[in-house]
């Protein structure tokens, strides 16, 4: 019988006999001792001050205060500068700030800042000095830090060198619980490079130049790379949800919807300052956090009083300028905060006030505007109508914070900003409502950023709702998808129209006015995927249970050009239409040669797997894979060839392609030979095996004295029984005669 509660008390616990003093709990005490609020959190210690006499002190304090007040509030009385016996200061001071946050800011921003040419300030928290500098904590003897011997690292761009010399691209596949990186082999089985189960917990992501593969775990983010796929970096942001890189792979932003909570025993990478924050900005090179931010509350009320539903969470919340020099964040409805890298200090220490600002976006490339010599990065933003003020789209230059172009608009219900990949054009898709707010129309306002004065062109008035828009990368043409009905939660998505636009032919190097090229009606398409090299575009129907078309278009078709298009800079041709049932995602490889399409198990469970097409829409490969989740082509860094060299290649393209075609033909024919030989071997093996088996059985039968064909004997016996006189009777004979055959072709 198990001891009951009553018996337990009497027999099993002899409390009196137990001597608590015997137990040594000092280790536990040390570990779990509560850090009492000591009230020193507002204090900092400043080292590196010049030695001054009592007379000189006020001057220094005054000078110092100027600096100290840039990050918080403090006063003369709050500075205590100890003096030695010799009547001179001891070159350090205690400073009290009005809040712990200010003290923390002082440590972050003033440490290592120069006081004058000779003196550099060192700022530390008082509590830190106490914690780390207390007697006994510091070894009296100097031991030189152990410096690891230099180890050569693997080349991070070795992936650019295809061992077969075919310039193949790599991609990552995440299926089931396994992540693998492969070489694309067109029609053939992709060549596996590395395959690891449970490599990531949620998804994988390439860095923008393809250097690192990011894996996401509950404990944080890891970066992998090099030829042996070792772990390069680790960013311990607990419960991280999303990751974004800066365009040049210098920085990383991690986000978690759970605020960071730093445990008492500390965190390997983050400090107590990061407690309660959601975003962390990391320096990839040093593997250290630069600054962390808390999530912003979305504003309760919109500009005209109506309550806006809170945005899910804006991502990316931090947007990077093209050269990694700035990162900016939108403060919905009020301002934009631009931070300078590498310190993550606010540009000019203030946010840029923009009343009502809804959205902004950096130019994806560093733009050289006509007649502007200074360095600048551009971003565009838009603000809705507030009261009697019109809505406004502006282009701001950073660091000068000058609005270099702005455009006033009326009756705006929404606007979307679309940069062309080189920053040459900015298209603002403006949804306007009529006065009664009953009908909607869309206009496309195109800013020609590189031209003098940034002229704005209104392209077209579109009656329907524009659901998708995409610029040709490095080009000046674009595709829109429109629908007559608003996209809602209808069972059958409405029909859409796909429209192509391009500039008119113009003299010299100028780009003519944008004109409508063609509209294709009654489509189901809802997504646009341009080749990264331009010219080719896939217009697809994704996330649709009824339809899954992939239309491959060429905008520089080399065939005959219709008379109506003769003044336009495009010749549109539908090259092919493919169908990939249940397709959820489409991605071009970075060279623009192949298109991968896949049906991800994240979206639905039907026919998961991928297809590969070439740029003309010819299907090369299809592979159904259970629990297929994700595919991503490995990006390539920009080419190192100069403009001239690229031109040279284009000129001699025929020469090159002859060599490549020959190589391809040889490879394919040798592969074919291998297949045929393998089949021949299989066939040979099979018939040899059959021969042996048949012989064996014949022998066995003979040994047992059984007839060679057991059934024939039986049938003979039965036949004799049915027809005793041995005559064969034909009961019924079946004849089939084809009377007429017609073939009908039904469209």
């Amino acid at each position: 019988m198990a001891p009951s509660y009553e018996t337990l008390r009497d027999e099993n616990l002899d409390e009196e006999d137990f001597d608590y003093d015997e137990v040594d709990v000092s280790d536990l005490k040390e570990k779990y001792e509560v850090q009492l609020e000591q009230g020193y959190d507002t204090f900092v210690v400043i080292d590196g001050l010049p030695e001054v006499t009592e007379e000189q002190k006020p001057k220094l304090v005054k000078f110092l205060l100027k600096k100290l007040n840039t990050v918080g509030k403090t006063s003369e009385d709050a500075i205590f500068m100890p003096f030695g016996d010799h009547g001179k200061s001891l070159r350090f001071a205690f400073v009290e700030y009005s809040s712990p946050a200010e003290a923390a800011a002082a440590v972050r921003q003033l440490d290592y800042s120069p006081l004058d040419k000779k003196h550099t300030l060192r700022v530390n928290k008082m509590t830190d000095i106490d914690r780390y500098g207390r007697e006994g904590r510091i070894d009296e003897e100097y031991t030189p830090p152990h410096i690891e011997p230099f180890q050569e690292k693997e080349h991070l761009r070795s992936f650019m060198a295809d061992p077969t010399g075919r310039g193949r691209d790599q991609f990552v596949m995440y299926r089931g619980d396994t992540v693998g990186v492969f070489w694309n082999n067109e029609k053939d089985q992709p060549e596996n490079i590395v395959d690891r189960p449970h490599w990531t917990e949620t998804f994988v992501q390439w860095s923008p130049l393809g250097t690192y593969l990011t894996s996401v775990h509950q404990q944080g983010v890891q970066l992998w790379g090099g030829a042996s796929w070792t772990r390069m970096r680790r960013f311990a942001h607990p419960f991280v949800n999303l990751v974004a890189f800066s365009p040049n792979e210098n920085y990383l932003v991690t986000w978690s919807n759970r605020p960071i909570s730093i445990p008492d025993e500390g965190h390997p990478q983050l400090s107590i300052d990061d407690d309660g924050k959601n975003y962390v900005i990391w320096d990839i090179e040093t593997n250290k956090p630069i600054r962390s931010f808390a999530q912003q509350d979305t504003p309760a009320a919109g500009p005209d009083g109506e309550v806006k539903k809170p945005a899910k969470f804006p991502w990316p919340a931090f947007k990077w300028s093209a050269d990694d020099k700035y990162v900016a964040r939108l403060n919905q409805g009020t301002s934009i905060s631009v931070y300078e890298l590498p310190n993550m200090n606010l540009l000019d220490k203030t946010t840029i006030k923009l009343d009502g600002v809804v959205d902004f976006d950096w130019a994806p490339a560093t733009v050289k505007r006509d007649g502007v010599k200074e360095y600048e990065q551009l971003f565009c933003f838009w603000t809705p109508e507030i009261g009697s003020n019109p809505a406004r789209v502006g282009l701001m230059s950073i660091p000068s914070k000058q609005v270099v172009r702005s455009l006033n608009l009326f009756s705006v219900s929404d606007a979307k900003l679309h940069w062309q990949s080189e920053g040459a054009y900015l298209c603002v898709k403006v949804d306007r409502h009529s006065k009664s707010k009953k009908s909607q129309a869309t206009t496309l306002e195109i800013f020609r950023v590189k031209e003098k004065g940034v002229p704005v062109e209104v392209v077209d008035t579109i009656k329907d709702t524009v659901i998708n828009f995409a610029w040709e990368p490095k080009g000046d043409r674009f595709v829109t998808i429109t629908t007559t009905e608003p996209v809602g939660a209808t069972a059958v998505p409405p029909k859409t129209s796909v429209a192509f636009f391009c500039p008119e032919k113009a003299k010299g190097n100028a780009v003519g006015n944008f004109k409508h090229l063609r509209t294709l009606e009654k489509k189901n398409s809802n997504a646009i995927y341009w080749s990264p090299k331009g010219r080719f575009v896939v217009v697809a129907t994704v996330h649709n249970t009824q339809s899954s078309d992939l239309d491959f278009y060429d905008l520089d078709f080399e065939g005959e050009k219709p008379e109506s298009d003769k003044d336009l800079t495009a010749n549109l041709q539908l090259m092919n239409t493919a169908d990939h049932y249940g397709v959820t995602d489409v991605e071009w490889d970075p060279s623009g040669r192949y298109v991968a399409t896949w049906a991800s198990a994240w979206k639905h469970a039907m026919e998961n797997g991928y297809h590969i097409y070439d740029f003309r829409g010819e299907q090369l490969r299809e592979e159904p894979i259970e629990k297929f989740k994700q595919w991503a082509w490995r990006p390539r860094p920009p080419t190192l060839l100069s403009k001239e060299e690229q031109k040279q290649i284009r000129k001699n393209l025929r020469e090159f392609s002859r060599v490549f075609e020959q190589e391809d033909a040889e490879r394919i024919s040798s592969a074919d030979v291998a297949v045929v030989q393998e089949r021949r071997r299989l066939l040979e093996d099979w018939y040899n095996w059959r021969e042996v088996v048949e012989e064996e059985i014949a022998e066995e039968r003979a040994e047992l004295g059984l007839p060679a064909d057991p059934i024939e004997e039986l049938l003979k016996a039965k036949a004799a029984e049915v027809a005793p006189n041995g005559e064969e009777q034909v009961i019924e004979e079946i004849m089939e005669e084809v009377l007429e055959e017609t073939e009908e072709i039904v469209n």
């Binding site: 045929v676 021949r680 099979w686 018939y687 059934i711 049938l715």
Partner: protein, 342 residues
Amino acid sequence: MRPVLLSGHERALTQVKYNREGDLLFSTAKDQHICAWFAHNGERLGTYQGHQGAIWTVDVDPTSTIIASGSADNTIRLWEVKTGKLLKTWDFPTAVKRVEFNEDGTKLLGVTEKRMGHLGTIVVLDIKVDPEAEQSDEKALTIVCEESKATVAGWSYLSKYIIAGHEDGSVSQYDGKTGDLIYNVNVHELGSPITDLQWNQDRTYFITASKDKTAKLITAKELEVLKTYVADTPLNSAAITPKKEYVILGGGQAAMDVTTTSARQGKFEARFYHKIFEEEIGRVRGHFGPLNTVAADPTGKGYASGGEDGYVRVHQFDKGYFDFNYEVERERLNRLAAQGGN
């Protein structure tokens, strides 16, 4: 291929079986009667009435004199083909999932279900292929499957072995006379039941179909896996075609898993694979439910499939089927022809 649609059953098909000449086709379904059909035109020869439960299985002796059937009413019954007369009933404690005659029709094996405290067994009955003869009540042999119950079983060449496919995906070889277990080999994915087992003509190798979406060609003597055919859907049945070196696989998303999926996603197609190269060469559509059973005409002229949709589809192969050859096959045939000419 113009199929003949046999709509004589009201419920899901469980097995279809050709006789040796390929002119008769027997089908069983969950609707309690066995049908016999003329294979060439789909005319019904008759039905065999008497079972009181879903019928899982049927087999015909090599001389097309008698048929045996196994049912969920816990009986194996023997019928005269010609008249439909019930000749004999054997009772068992549980349902009978599979029956098969040996090569000369003198022995019949039955696979019984594991249920209600009874382990799954394979029983062997001695049969006299004569409608007039008195059949023995005694079981010649009982094999008890202690590990994992047998789902399908069959007789090898010379009735030397009994081969059984199990619920756990393994295949066993028993001595045909003593019933001793000789081998047990895991061939299919662990835990994926084997759903069908069919022989080639001389019963030296067989094909298994499994829920793990593969079918395997296995030798009877060594239980060596010769070929593996990979499909994209759970398989219910597989057959080896005579004359041409193909196999036919049938399956589809299990009925209970098909909810809102269309016929396209259910993958209710008969798939043809090249037996030696393991490559898929074609599919035949038509059923609107999973294929529960496929059978190849022993004369190599056609095949039949029975679906969860209650229909049997009988196909006669057309010329293209017989003409199709891989290049290396043609090469070999030409070589043989040349040798024959000399």
